[in-house]
Symmetry: C3
Subunit: 427 residues, 3 copies
């Protein structure tokens, strides 16, 4: 039987070939495939030109084909082979130019000669081709080269997907992930695929909190979504995670919210400390994704990131080497499970108070060995430590931190003590 990691990986494989950008048909096609997994997902279109805080929703970009022919008419660069070959948002072009002029439109990475770089130009009109440094070195023949980019950039829509899942309370836990990069795996598809399967699991759970999940283009998408929902988000969201770069197997990492002390931050650190204590801990100065918007001054949402190899921190980042070999079923599943534990901790957290003065007599309730020996003290240590700190000022999460045990080890003990009327919730 397939593991959950295998299922997540399979979805990434299906989405990989699509040429996504911050707008356009590739974005919508990706959303449609995800909708097959999450029928409740709704699609929203915001017209190009709509003001979005300091920005405007961009024109929509679509591309059908692109290639370069050498002076002999041979196709030496072909968009059909890799959608990374074209600079994102390239304007249409169809002409013959000499090599020297063509070179000005070439982008390659001398330090990574086997990698096609991922380059975009959303806010200035240009066109260009990306290729490996090794290939570029072979293009030396003088003569007229034919460059064709069959794209268009015109008014249309910025699209995003949204899923609202109700819980017992109106307070929300928020997940944001982006689907605006073409064929790249860790920095792109790991995020939406892990999020998709996390939501599938969530839908099967009893939920104290409501959930807000969005699939957006990075930056302009979070700005757009915020501009439409800021008030509601500020009132409701108690914890959020930006899900990106969650697919490889090399490490776990954490990047805090701007204020660094939200529930989202504390819980993620707790889970990582207990499950993967060698995780890499970044600061907000290392940020680089949508937390830049969610945590901006005046917005101030409690959004942190649990990642594997972080954007910008692994050599394949933003190149064709960030491919399906870089991510793994186990890598995807590992982050899926960490985020699951984060949700479980937030869901289970509550302020607790012991109902009796002094230590309760556990023996008469069958909670304590009746014969006192040197060994028995240690056996009930966790239960007694929990009780010792249930003073009505601390939440279960804070107690788990204080007594340095995983919160999920305490949840069944809380259940047992509540059944004995020894603990009460006081929220």
């Amino acid at each position: 039987m397939d593991s959950i990691g295998d299922s997540i990986y399979a979805l990434a494989v299906k989405l990989f070939p699509i040429c996504r950008s911050i707008t356009g048909d590739g974005f919508r096609e990706t959303l449609r495939i995800i909708s097959d997994e999450l029928p409740g997902l709704t699609t929203h279109d915001v017209p190009s030109g709509t003001p979005v805080f300091d920005w405007v929703a961009p024109r929509e970009w679509n591309i059908r084909d692109a290639y370069v022919l050498d002076p002999h008419g041979k196709k030496i660069i072909d968009f059909a082979e890799s959608n990374l070959h074209v600079v994102g948002y390239s304007t249409p072009v169809n002409k013959k130019i000499p090599l020297s002029e063509l070179q000005e439109h070439f982008y390659s990475l001398p330090d990574q000669p086997d990698a096609i770089p991922y380059i975009t130009s959303y806010y200035k009109e240009r066109w260009g081709f990306c290729l490996t440094e090794n290939q570029r070195k072979t293009i030396t023949e003088d003569g007229e080269y034919t460059v064709v980019i069959d794209s268009d950039l015109k008014d249309g829509h910025l699209t995003y997907g949204e899923l609202l899942i109700p819980g017992e309370r109106k307070e929300e836990i928020f997940f944001s992930t982006y689907i605006c990069h073409p064929s790249m795996a860790n920095n792109e598809l790991s995020g939406p695929t892990v999020t998709t399967f996390l939501v599938k699991w969530l839908l099967s759970q009893k939920r104290k909190y409501s959930y807000r999940i969005i699939f957006i283009p990075e930056t302009i998408g979070s700005l757009t979504y915020l501009s439409l929902h800021l008030d509601e988000m500020q009132r409701r969201i108690i914890a959020g995670y930006n899900v990106t770069c969650v697919g490889d197997d090399r490490c776990y990492s954490f990047l805090p919210s701007r204020k660094e002390d939200s529930l989202a931050d504390h819980v993620a650190l707790h889970v990582l400390k207990h499950l993967h204590p060698d995780f890499v801990r970044y600061t907000y100065l290392d940020r680089g994704s949508d937390e830049r918007q969610y945590c901006a001054p005046g917005i101030d949402l409690p959004v942190a990131s649990v990642m594997r190899s972080k954007y910008g921190a692994y050599p394949e980042y933003h190149t064709s080497l960030d491919n399906l070999e870089l991510i793994t079923p186990s890598g995807l599943q590992g982050t899926y499970e960490v985020l699951q534990k984060c949700i479980e901790c937030i869901e289970a957290d509550e302020r607790l108070k012991v109902t009796v003065l002094g230590e309760p007599q556990l023996g008469k309730r069958g909670l304590y060995p009746t014969l006192s020996t040197k060994q028995t003290a240690a056996q009930v240590r966790d239960m007694m430590n929990l009780i010792a700190y249930c003073d009505g000022t601390r939440t279960l999460f804070e107690i788990a931190e204080k007594i340095n045990v995983p919160m999920w080890d305490l949840v069944p003990i809380v259940k047992k003590l509540k059944e004995q009327n020894l603990l009460e919730s006081i929220d």
Copy 2:
């Protein structure tokens, strides 16, 4: 001339043979001998069955004799040789049983073959014999063994001793110690004997604070005492110490109150830091004595522990090896002196304010060398540092911590500066 340590040790020797338990004649006999040293000590009886928070005062247990005869009628285990041989609170028994059945009532320690373990069963009715693993191995002969425990377990009283010593103020410093273990030395007799001599010294002192000292059975005794005096204790006690395991020579140790930041905690740490800087520092998670009740949620008294080798942290703990060879006069005296210094610090602490603006001119008051050289600056450093921080916001104790000198070095300087009207108390 005998040291104070010798006197404390002598009292421990006198109390050692008595068979104490959480109730009964051994407890009362111990209290009577301590009363000889502390005539003001009063004895209080609480009837069995009295509700005590989540518990009830237990029935009273007394034992007169106990032994095992082998199939030849030879006495192979004898309570008269060691009161540890009988499981505490054993129900009466008098019958012949085969070895196989007897074995189910034997308790020994395979890892410590020379030690008789200390076992109790206060809250479930059982009987049993404790013996060394080495002796147990010699009892192999089949046949009928005679087991006799001449005990009774019936309604009676839980007893405790209390001594209230008035001071200038109603605020109290609290000492609690227990006398419920049979013949064991560090974990039992070191506590009440050091406390007894500390109180004798206290009675000879001028006291700003009042003192509350109790001699109780552990756990059920502190619960019982709290249930009778909680209000008063919460209103009055500003610092307290549980006195246990204060008799050996191997180390000093400290275990904080639950909130970790009471005056009792800070002062004990200050004294240990300056007198015995290599002391072992435990956390509240390592607790195991009556601080579990005094610091429980809703009770929240500021009770910490200064110890030598802590209960559970030395190999002889709760066995016959915790005997009079384990504790020493110097070991007992060392903790006596640490607790004395704690009391002196608390008694001398007060908020102080310098009476002049700018540094006072010490020269004209004979407090400062009149000739200024490179050397003289250092000589008055402590006095000047004290003055520099007497700003009315800090107490003397806080200043001692800030300038990192033992508080007792500052007490005579404060006296001198008050005589010169340079400092005033502002409490």
Copy 3:
């Protein structure tokens, strides 16, 4: 062309020979020479005997000549050669005494046989001669020695210099330096000379804050000045520095104000951390100059010290070896520049708030590269980090600390962002 350090050094050379004390003609002559550089400097006289908090303004001491003649009439000690030869505030004397009696008036340093010690006796009447240990060993001949000190100690004045420089605001930045030591260089002349040139620079600047600069005798001068201006100083001074020991080349050092957390403290630490990260960090317990008065309880001014080799912490301190060879133009200039940066930081500090929600679009304002590549992210990092923390709760200085860049690197970015209306001051 001379560096600023050369100019500061030249002033120190000019002031070096003058025999200063806490009162008297040498003090006034020093003030007069500084007035040549700072025409706005005003001179103030406080009569001897004026009460000054716990002290009184001392009598004025002047000395014209002093020497010792050996039994042959040969001048073996001569004030004209070094004004350190006479104990400061020596009473007049003119008599013949035997060597044994003369020895009681000799001061030398056995551990530093080549150094004449600097000794004073302000508050007890004495007379004495200071000499090197090596010279003292040569004075062995019995016979009558002639001792002459042509001094007088009588009612007069305690003098100080004051310069008030207005700024846009009434809040003040305070500099205090002392001119009461005879011919010594690091512990004395480095302070007033660096301060003089700092003020000359300040006078040429646009100033948000007003400035209060005083040239005083140490201790009694700061007490006197405080006793006359305390109210005003407490109301106005937001940051202050005591300028002393700022002339050698061996290290930088920092000594905090008593409360350790004033703007003066934080800014000095920031500047030193970025410019001279290996600086020596002292605590207030290491204090020894006028911060003892400025930070005394009830006075509580935010006065810290940025120094080179600190008083008491270098071997030449308070001896004839603290001479013009110990200080250097580069040593003086280094501290001058650190204090300049402190002033610039305080002047530029303000609370800032970004004017848009979400990250601003820097591209449309020409503040951001239009082509997104792996490299461009790092280039705008400082600007983005600044914007990320301009949330109206933090000042520019606090942001510089948070994002760990020198505040002076952010000042031009703030200017640019304000021009684009992306940042606003909210004080």
